[in-house]
């Protein structure tokens, strides 16, 4: 369609160049051919821009829908605080149990052994308290399972969102706070406890120190 219009303009222009006497009709013919040619170009341009805008609108709609599926407000107001409370409770209960166990051990170590019966009774009582204190393990196991469930919930939503918008990772820190924390970790070599199988053993450390 566009090439036909261009050909018409060219033919009209060639016709004029061959004539010595150019009439108003010739000029109007050329102008009409030119306008027709431009119209098809503008029409094709309109359609292309329209398609692009439609694609952008669809992408925005899809992204909006995916943001909704992310349930960011629910994560921020419910799941993440709940996981934090569970972990706080784990720290408290393990500390409480450890303190109880240590108190019992200290009492046994410091007990008067001159009266064998009384000493036996004290040891039995303290050992029973130690057994009771060890029940924290069951509760902490359940609390940690809830935290793992929350992490899986977040992972599923973030994964879906990242895939839907074709997210690519940008290196760097998300905030000044994170930047400072990461710099401190790097400068002061704060790696934290090693995972099982990672890190060096006490024997390796001794060899490094003495080597």
């Amino acid at each position: 369609m566009a090439s036909q219009s261009h050909a018409a303009v060219r033919a009209a222009a060639d016709g004029l160049s061959e004539k010595d006497d150019i009439s108003l009709v010739d000029v109007l013919t050329l102008a009409e051919a030119s306008i027709r040619s431009m119209k098809s170009f503008i029409d094709s341009l309109d359609s292309k821009v329209y398609d692009e805008f439609r694609e952008i609108a669809q992408y925005i709609q899809k992204t909006k829908s995916e943001i909704g599926h992310l349930q960011a407000n629910d994560l921020r107001s419910k799941h993440i605080p709940e996981a934090g409370h569970e972990l706080g409770a784990v720290v408290s209960s393990t500390e409480e149990a450890t303190t109880k166990i240590m108190e019992c051990a200290e009492a046994i170590l410091e007990a008067d052994t001159s009266d064998a019966d009384a000493y036996q009774q004290l040891v039995n009582d303290k050992v029973m308290i130690i057994f009771e204190a060890c029940s924290f393990q069951d509760l902490t196991g359940q609390r940690i399972a809830k935290v793992v469930e929350t992490l899986e919930h977040i992972e599923a939503r973030v994964t879906r969102f990242a895939a839907a918008i074709g997210a690519e990772d940008i290196q760097g820190d998300a905030s000044e706070k994170e930047k400072k924390r990461n710099k401190r970790k790097k400068d002061l070599i704060l790696n934290g406890p090693a995972k099982k199988g990672e890190g060096v053993s006490q024997d390796d450390i001794d060899a490094l120190l003495n080597g």
Binding site: M102, L188, I189, P193, Q202
Partner: protein, 127 residues
């Protein structure tokens, strides 16, 4: 050189439970004068008030870490010769090398037992 069980020992850790564990282990080993501090800053303050025969410190504490405390101690003329044992969960090679360069006398990785603590104290004092 025999370990002097009457020498003051400073235990530095931000976890009260760990301080209690180390205190009890030291008590079982025969040490009677044991103080504690919750981080490097508090430890440094105590070290400038009282002469300690041994410092047993965690690495990961805030605001001042055990690593920073070690470097401060080694750069302070009055404290530089204080024996220093790091007791920490930081068990990467780079941590051990950094502590060695900073002048640590021994390095114990958590979790540890009484026998390890005793052997490292003995090694520091050449037993």
């Amino acid at each position: 050189m025999a370990v002097d069980l009457s020498m003051p020992v400073l235990v530095v850790d931000d976890y009260k439970t760990m301080i209690r564990i180390i205190r009890n282990l030291l008590k079982q080993l025969g040490f009677s004068d044991v103080d504690d501090a919750a981080d490097g800053t508090e430890a440094l303050g105590k070290m400038r008030e009282k002469r300690y025969g041994l410092v047993i410190s965690d690495w990961n504490m805030e605001p001042m870490t055990g690593y920073e405390l070690l470097k401060e101690v080694r750069s302070d003329e009055g404290l530089a010769r204080t024996p220093f044992i790091m007791v920490t969960a930081e068990s990467k090679t780079e941590n051990v090398i950094a502590a060695k360069k900073a002048g640590v006398n021994n390095y114990i990785v958590k979790p540890f037992n009484a026998a390890t603590l005793k052997s490292k104290i003995d090694a520091v004092f050449g037993e």
